[in-house]
């Protein structure tokens, strides 16, 4: 009765508070989670941004924040070591992720053909991901050991000279990239394998019937269909590789010289070892911005547009 009267008076249905709540229920339901997310991400982000324009000292048991404007930026512009770290990081990301993607894809394509013992090889492949980073660092450090390591023992057995894997500036970066590849290829492999196994069999059979060669099937059928999965893996691996820390910290600590200095490790040293909180915050902000810029660019490219979320 009331509703009908309201329609009559205004000429259109009047919306009660209950209707409004009903219509916006999804937003209210999301609000607590969003609020929590804002608190957990926005507040630290704002705090670190504030730190980036300050110096922080400690006296009388208190934090002493001093706004120093662009002083940290001036330090940044003169900081040659950060530039070296950035260059090394980019080199690390490009080399490690490229090999991991190619190797992971190749293994996934091979594994697709194997029908027997699936659970066995999957278990074996997943092992490196399960090993804690500390154990990986210790294990590979031992294997790379100049006097007792397995690699040098093999080299000597083959009549070659042993190599200073982690002490030679020319070898140190390839050595840590190798560890990263060993660690993360299984991750790429498992996700791509899942993607490949989910492909519609009819399309592949149709390509067979049409007489497509193996290479044509791969290039024209499989890769375009597995493209969204590839995009996701590539994005994740790139971001993770950009933030690489544990492997390098445990294997070389950035040395010898600056050969394996990377951005995350450098920020750690500035922040925690040298206790330069303001400048460390600035470097952290710049790193976050770099990753955001990468993700943004990625999404705008053709590759990014293939990702499941792009639609």
């Amino acid at each position: 009765m009331g509703k009908a009267a309201a329609v009559e008076e205004t000429g259109r249905p009047a919306r009660s508070v209950a209707d409004l709540l009903d219509a916006t229920f999804q937003y209210w339901a999301l609000a607590p989670a969003l609020l929590l997310l804002l608190c957990l991400t926005l507040y630290p982000m704002l705090s670190i941004l504030r730190m980036a324009f300050s110096t922080i000292d400690f006296a009388q048991g208190q934090f002493l924040w001093t706004f120093t404007g662009l002083q940290n930026w001036r330090t940044f512009l003169e900081d040659w070591l950060f530039r070296v770290a950035l260059r090394n990081t980019i080199l690390f990301v490009v080399a490690a992720v490229t090999v991991e993607m190619l190797l992971g894809l190749a293994l996934a394509l091979l594994a697709c053909q194997i029908q027997m013992g699936k659970s066995i090889y999957r278990t074996i492949m997943v092992l490196p991901i399960l090993v804690p980073a500390v154990a990986i660092g210790c294990m590979w450090r031992l294997m790379y050991n100049y006097d007792f390591g397995i690699f040098n023992r093999l080299l000597v057995a083959l009549g070659a000279r042993p190599l200073a894997w982690l002490a030679d500036p020319r070898l140190a970066m390839p050595s840590v990239i190798l560890v990263d590849i060993w660690h993360w290829v299984p991750f790429v492999f498992l996700i791509l394998l899942a993607g490949l196994e989910a492909l519609p069999v009819e399309v592949l059979e149709a390509a067979n019937v049409d007489g497509a060669s193996g290479w044509q099937r791969l290039r024209l059928v499989i890769l375009p269909m597995v493209g969204p999965t590839l995009s996701v893996v590539l994005l994740f691996r790139t971001i993770f590789a950009f933030k690489v820390f544990d492997e390098i910290f445990l294997l070389t600590s950035g040395g010898p010289g600056t050969a394996t200095e990377v951005v995350s490790l450098y920020i750690y040293k500035v922040f925690f070892a040298e206790n330069r909180l303001g400048y460390g915050a600035l470097l952290a902000v710049l790193t976050i911005l770099t990753i955001c810029a990468f993700v943004g660019t990625y999404r705008w490219t053709r590759l990014g547009s293939r990702a499941p979320w792009a639609s």
Binding site: F58, F63, D147, D168, T252, P256, G257, A273
Partner: protein, 469 residues
Amino acid sequence: MCSHAKRLRILTRLSIWAVLATSWGAPIALAPVTAEAAQPARPTKDLFLDVGKHPPITLLINQSPWYGGFEKVVKLYEEQTGNKVTLDVSPYAGMLEKARNAARGKESPFDWVNIDTQNTVEFYLGGFLAPLREIDPDFRLDPQVSRYDDCLFWNERTQWRDRDGVLMGLPVQGNVNLYYYRSDLFQQAGLKTPETWDDVVAAAEKLGKAGELYGFVVRGERGNAIRYDWMSYLLGVGGSIEKDAPSGDFTVTVNSPQAKRALDFYLSLAKRFGPPNSGAIGQNDLIQLMTTGKALQLNMVAAAWPNMDNPERSRVVGKVNVAVIPRPADGVFATPIGNWVSGIPRNIPAERKKAALAFMKWFLTFEGQYKFAEFGGIPPVRMDVFDSDLVARPEFRWMVAYKKSLPYARQVLGYKEGAQVEAILGLRLNQAVVGELTAGKALNLAAEEIYKAFQQGGRRTGLLPKLPE
């Protein structure tokens, strides 16, 4: 008259001899008795200090080679006193952050934090630790407890760790670098324990075999490792990082001709006698090389000693000995201190502070320190332990060299920019070891960067003329 004078002369001479004999003889005769009365050679149960009943405490302690000894001595404290102690054990890499978070927070979860000596300034300067006489106005540091170049005190006026300052912490473990060598091979070759750099080089030349037995190994890994390792060479030639920091003169002197000489010698040791991976060798690698019999000589912290005689870890049990780090022929003995200092956070209730101090009082007694050493806590921090019966035991043969080294032991980087200076030196020295920079270039670059760090810290600073590169 004549005979009377003669008798008088004889009497006078006899009196003089009697006085001399008494003055020399009495202390000699009394000495052992006095020493024994003042200090027992080993502790007895009754002599352990009664510190009374206290609430439970939690200590932040590092997982270092001497930790086993500390853990056992803590158990003994619990048995002796009935007071409960919980140990929060952390690897070295996480210690500083845990201590910082605890001391900077509202209330520390730890009643006692263990701090690497080079990080103590940050805690003293920041006001995060309670001065010990604020907790117990009657507390006095036992004269037998080593001061480790006064790193336990903070002088607010001079902003320096000196004895005129306030007592802020107590020593837990007293690392200094020692010279480790294969005494069996030296003996076979008829070589005496090296005292100078020349002796070291001669031994390396005579006994070192490329690929089989490295004549000398340096700890050349980037960072704290190489900075700490190089200090004995720099200090030995009379060099320094800054001119006179305690007096406020922070003129950078790390690119002095003396420093160049120290680095040149260091590099020659690494290149001539060390393994090709000298630039990546850390403390664990040194221990490995020594215990596997692949190293003839090296400098390493005293705390690494237990590995040498441990048959489960060492192939050279009883074949290694230690000595004071050799000096240049025209230089001085020198070794850097790398001790640990315990501090009581300011942000805990008074009764917990008292409980933490009670533990330290007990720990620093002769009995506590003797047991600490006996359980593998190397090195203890009381000097009278080095005069105890432990010294006669073969496994404690390191004690003689350690005691001899202490007068030459020095603290470095005792200022707020210390961590930055360490990072700079740790990188530039390592670059010289791996061949990226010449010694002159490395020191010049280090000097410029340290100069900037001092400038930013508002120090009175300056630079020396550049070295030829």
